[in-house]
Structure formats: C-alpha cells, structure tokens
Subunit: 250 residues, 4 copies
C-alpha cells in the first residue's frame, strides 16, 4: 500500500465560483478520489489553511508520496514546513508537483532554479506528447499523445535544471511548447513535475490526467532510505591505519 498525502492550497476553491463549481469538494479531494480508485494506493488530503499546513512530522513520516498543488499563496507556506518536506524528499519520499506548483517553495528549493515560465490563461487546447512510450508514468495511454481541450498555457523557457528524464512535451494551440512532464532525483527522493491542472478548467476530472498521477505515484514510491547528517570518522576508526598530523580547528 502506497500512502499518498495530497496537499491542496484550497484557496481559489473558496474565492472563485468558477473553481468551486468545478471542484465543489476542492481540487485536493478530486485528486485524492482519483488516486483511491487504485487498490495499491491510500490517499488522504491536507490543506494549506490547516495547522502546519497539515504537514506535521507525524504526517510526513507516514507519507510515501506527497502531491503538491498551489498557486496564489505560495509565499504563505511556512519555511519550517518546507524544510521538513525537503528533508523527507532527500530521505526518499516521492514528490509529485502539479501545474502552478512550479513556483511552490518546495519545488524551487529542491531544484535550485527560478522555475520561471511564460503563461496565458485563454482556455486553449493543449496536446501532451509522450517522449518515452516505455516509461512507467505513461503506461496505459494508448496513443502517442493526449489532449486537453481547455488549459492555461505555460511556455518555454522553463527555468529548471536539465531533467533526468523527459516524459511529456506540450503543444499549445496558441503556438507555444513546454516541458510538461519531467523527473529529477534529489537525495533518494524521486520528483515528478506534471504541468496540467489550471483551476478554472476540469483537468483533474480527466481520466488520462488521473491515470498519469496514479502512475507517477507508483513510480515515485520510496525504495530505500538516505540518512542525512555529516558523521565524524575519528582517526582511530579510519578503514586504513593512519597517524594524525597537522593542526586542528575542531
């Protein structure tokens, strides 16, 4: 059983009727429901308005994969919680960053770059092409691409380090392209960025989008633990016998 925590900003759902009409129980609930259709996954939700954003030490210790959606109030996420999530990713927890999560503190923290991009909210068509048809994240998609009839445009340049693997590249009706699915590893944590999911369109109700997130969760699950810290190895514990020489500042 893969324990997934779905983080939702849960802001636009409360402030924009167009969003609450599409996601009456919140985007996070829609995503968690889609994950829970899979018997290998047990997804629960937390939201930014909860104490510690719901991401307590205990909750994170019981999380195998965290999904993250935020947009309007990234800067309100507490740095102490970002530290905590980063630590867990480095140890091995998987992280799926969705759509406008490209500017989430945790994503920028782990990648080290601006994660900037160009954008346009025009409800245009997006076509996501698969770059490796054999990758576990795209299994079950029976075409070389899938389409969303209405999406926000994100365009290159996308301010990211070179991905370990390119999973999707998007074609937009308005003429742009974007690296819409990409993976990285940081410490022992697997990270998957997946572009679609603007809140004014019903993207998380789309069956292929749901499939990709489920696949992503399975791909990102932990496979071992990387302990943090800088152990001192005293001279008398060195694998080979040595004699200490020179000065010391320790």
């Amino acid at each position: 059983m893969i324990r997934v925590t779905v983080f939702g900003e849960n802001h636009h759902e409360k402030t924009h009727k167009v969003v609450s009409d599409i996601y009456p129980k919140g985007m996070h609930t829609c995503i968690a429901d889609a994950l829970n259709t899979d018997k290998e996954i047990k997804a629960t939700t937390v939201t930014q308005d909860q104490h510690e954003h719901g991401l307590t030490e205990k909750k994170l210790a019981e999380t195998d994969v965290l999904t993250w959606w935020g947009h309007a109030i990234h800067d309100k996420v507490e740095n102490a919680v970002v530290d905590r999530v980063q630590k867990r990713v480095l140890e091995g927890m998987g992280l799926i960053v969705l759509h406008s999560g490209h500017h989430a503190k945790i994503f920028r923290r782990l990648l080290g770059t601006s994660c900037d991009l160009n954008w346009r909210e025009a409800g245009e068509k997006e076509r996501l092409w698969i770059c490796n048809p054999g990758h576990p994240i795209v299994q079950g998609i029976d075409k070389p691409y899938f389409e969303l009839q209405n999406e926000e445009m994100y365009g290159e340049p996308f301010g990211i380090p070179t991905p370990d693997e390119q999973i999707f590249i998007s074609w937009f009706q308005g003429g742009e392209v974007f690296r819409s699915g990409a993976t990285w590893k940081r410490g022992n944590g697997k990270i998957f960025y997946f572009r679609p999911g603007h809140e004014t369109y019903p993207t998380y109700h789309d069956k292929t989008v749901q499939l990709v997130i489920r696949n992503g969760v399975k791909w990102a699950k932990p496979e071992g633990k990387y302990p943090l810290g800088c152990p001192h190895v005293p001279a008398d514990k060195a694998p080979e016998k040595i004699v200490v020489t020179g000065g010391s500042v320790h």
Copy 2:
C-alpha cells in the same frame, strides 16, 4: 578580462593561530593572488565580516565568477545576500565552491540537497584522480593525478545531485573516496565544486590547486544572460491566433 570576486569567511584566520600562520593575509588574499598571476583574470576579495558580506548589488553586477570559501559561520550569511547571489548565478555568473563551502547556504540553495558528507581532520594524504583528462579544468596537470600530503578527509556518500561532469575523485590514505571535483549548471550559471582547502594546511599555496582554480574560473565565465521572470503573454500576442474561452482567476 574575467572579473573574479573571491569570498572569504575570514573567521579562522582571526581565531586560530595555526591558520593565520599559514595565511597571514587571509585565505581569500592567497586565492586572489594566485588568480591574479593570470593576465586574463582580475580578482578582488570580499569577506563575510563586511557590510552585506561585500556582496552588494553593484559588486555582484561587476562579477563574472564568484569563488566561495566558508566553514564555521555559514549560518551567519544573510539570506538576502544568498538570494542575490543565486539570482546572479541563474543569470549566468560562474560559481566556484571550495572545500567546506559544501555546506554554504548558496551551494545547498543551488543544488537542493543536503551536501552532507563524512569527514576527518587528520592531515592525511589525498590523491586527486582526473576523470576526464581533456576537460578544460585539468589542462596543465601533466599526470593522471596530483597529491596533497596533508588534507582533511571528506568521504562518500556526498549528498549532491548527479554532477553534469565528474572532474576529480579523491583517494584518501585513511581508506575513503570522494567526488572532489564536479560541475553543474543552474539557469545559465556554471558551478564547480573543488574539494581541497582545509584551513590548517597550506593547500591554497599548492601550485596545482592554484592552477585548477584558475582553470575553473575560465571555464565558469558567463557566455550569455538568462533573464528571470514569468512574462504574461496576452491572448492577442500569442504566436498563433486563438480565442479566449473558459473562466479566469487573474
């Protein structure tokens, strides 16, 4: 002319006689002097005890490559200065991180990982093997390796993302190994981590170490600028004609 700013923590030089005996004018001055033996380089120094650590907007705007040595008081580096340096690296400024700079805020910020390692201060022998004899950073070293008779040991695991290129790997007398020279790119900035340089040994007086840092500076110099920001592309400025549909949160 490559304009280099040499950042020095300048702490142990004032608090430990063993260090000030080896570097009476500070490690930063020793490094800058070594760089200035090259006619293509103009190196100046800043120290952590200066206002804004000497790294003002103006100074950074006039810096092509920044070298960074710190150890004991990383946590005293102001976050606003780290933000500023990160921005310049993403735009294209080169960064050479030296020795205990592995735990500098700016290095961890750009790599996104713990940068943890194992260590021992025993003055043992370090032998640095070259992994790509054709790389610009190792030109002029006429052997497959070079040695330092007394160095601190840093051992694997080194908590870094996979480097773009592995330049050196160290063999330590006490039995450990370490990825002692490695490069990454973040935004348009080139980053080179170079391990040697413990303050209680005369490492920065070593001719090969000086050569490597000079080579590193030339390798890391800017070759173009990556502007930051997330431009909005209005629908009527899209490369292809589109009609706006759907709701908006903007």
Copy 3:
C-alpha cells in the same frame, strides 16, 4: 518472476586452471545460482561458445534482464547478436554489465564511448563505497562500504558518459579510485555497470557481490515497452489540419 539470462564468455574457465578451480561449473553458473536463491528471480545461462551465443531472438524475447561477463574474446561476439541485444535494451530489457564487460561490444555500443580504464592484476584490496545509501541496488548492505580482499584494480579515468546515478566508488590499496557502480538509461532499458569480478579471485562467491547483482536485477527489470521505428505521419493524419506545400524527395 523476473527472467534473467546470465551470459558467460566461458573461456578462461576452460583455459586457466586457477579460474576453473574457483568456478568449476563456470562463472555464469555461479552467478545464476546466486540469483536463483531469490524467489522472484528465475535465472538461466548462455555461453559465448553456443550457437548465436545462446542469445537467439526467442531467448531474448523471454529475457527481462541480461547479465554480461566477458573479457578475452569480446571481438568474437557476432555483430548481429549485438544488434539484437541493443534492440531489446532500447525496448526495455535490463542489462547488468560485470567487470571486464566494460569493453564488451554491447556496453560500448550503448554508451558510445571508449569505456577505457587503467588496470593492474595484483590481488589487492578493493573497498567499494556507497554513494547513495537509499538506492535500491545497495539495500541490505548494512555498512557504508564493503570490501573484497583480492581484486584486479581498475582506475580512473573511466571512459564513460556521465552516469545517471553513481552507486559505488572504489578505493584500491595500490592508490587508485574507480566509478565501480553506475547506471544509465538507453531507450527504455536500464543499464547497471558493476565492477568487481576478476576471474582469478572468488568474487562471485562473495555474499555482498551476489546481493548487489540480485538487487541490480530487480532494479533493472522492464516497466514498459519502447517500440522502435520511424513512423510516417501523412499530412491528412496530422493532429492539426494542414495543407502540403513545397517539394518532396519521398
């Protein structure tokens, strides 16, 4: 059940008594036996002296992961078989390349580089350090390193493209270092190079070496299929409506 085919050159076992004394049934049998202690794995062997080296279309179609050990007669491996194995790796079959397989045609074919290295056969001590303690390939090793008392030395520079992940780095008694465990992906196939295994020492009887190969097999198993070929997309099948213009050479 993971179907593993263990390829053995089976040459030194027949020509050198020191080798046949250590591996009376051949190195390939020793490796296969070690794999078959795991209930998730079903390993069989093929040898270079068989017709098509045992690697028929049928055999490869039924292989999830191929392990490869060769040394003295790499050049005798038929190019048609190398083509066939490459195709299967690109589709998704895993490949574990062992020791002197660094110069196997299939390894050089997939990596594109010389795979050259320095070497010495002196039965010296090798200590393999783990670079990511959380990686699935090193699970079950309860120390930061493991040792082999007698091994051939392989030293840097190792003529490989930058690995996707560094798993082990070796320290040798004689003073060298080597990237002893490394992974790459080609097409959808996962590749793991694992250095130890000189034929004059009992390396494949070592419990930790056996564990690493078993872990490697599980890590490398296929997770999807990447079909090869260059499909033509006729203009009237383009996702967007277009009108053909300009000349043609087809």
Copy 4:
C-alpha cells in the same frame, strides 16, 4: 581560428531538381559559406562520394569541429570512417549533427540509441523555442523563438538519451513537438544536434539557422584532449606500495 569540416552527403543535390535549384553548389557549400562569414572560422567541405568520404586521418586530425548532413545513403558510409570520426570526437573534436543526420551512423554510434522519430514532409511551419536564453548557441537571436515557414516535421518520441542541455524545442503547425536542439558530451567531444534543414526547403539560406550553426561551432570547439587506451599499471608503479597476490590470466 576554428577549423571546421562540413560533411555533405551530396546525393539529393544530384538526383532531385528541387534540391539542386535551392542549393546549386550543394548544401555543404551553402553551410560552409555561412560559416566562413565569421573571421574566427575556417570551413572546408568534404562529400560522401569522395575517397574515404574525404574524412582521411589527416583531414580529421586538422578538424576542430565536424558538421554532418546525410539522409538517403547513411548505410553507405564506411564503418572504418565512422570508427575514425568517433575516435576523434572522444578525443575532443566537436560534432554538429544536422537534420536527417539523426540517423547517421556516427550519431547513433555516439548516442547508443535508435534516434528514431516521427516525420511528415508537408512544408509546414516550424517554430523553434529557446529553452535557455543564456546559452552560447542562441546568442544573437533577439526573440524567444524563431520560425521557418516551410519545413519537414519531426515529432516525438525522439529516441535519444536525455540531453545534457535542451537548447530548442519545436512547435509544428500540424500539431507535433520535437527536441530540435540538444547537446551531449562523449569523451571530451561536444555534440550538438540541430533539427532544421530538409533539402527541399531553403533552410540553410536562413540567417538565424546560419547564426545557430556558427554559434554551435564556437561552442563545440575542442578545449583539451582525452587520450584513448587502457594503460597497464604494473604493481611496482602503483602509487602506493603493494605486494602481488593471487593468480593471473595475463
């Protein structure tokens, strides 16, 4: 002065009037002329119909960067010449692979993958987006993209290993996307793949295409030499004193 050798297949120029009308002196001459407008570059041409395809040991020894265009008769390129070019790239010679060179023996040899893609020859519009505006290869392009009004379509999936850096991604009028500019390093040689250049359109007369190839040449020029070979290090030449033990096959 950068010495560039422009390799041209020179086949369609002789067999298709539409091609010879656009490139009366051959595509290779058009490319070489565009390179020679830069005072830092000295470009000469060779063609596949020459003895050893013009790529003799002597010619390659005097080549800093090789550009490669081929399409119809890749399989007629002699393997001995491919070996020779590969060796020079691994040593440090730059390589620019153009358009249908994606299936050239040398490109597949260096990357190890199929280099397959989807395609359509319909003279449609291609828009190449810049992924890193600071990269030396795109300097001088004053917009976030450039366009070619008539080009062949190449679509994802593109069967390549993950590039070291993504330079361009193309948007096609017919609905596809493609990783149109990408870099890799093999040995010490820098490789740049640049997609545009179908022979039935005047692509190599385009000023931006010419600029990109010139920039690519400057980016790919050698910066050091990686010598090939597997040196034996006798036990008495080991950096550390060792005593030989165990059997030998050498």
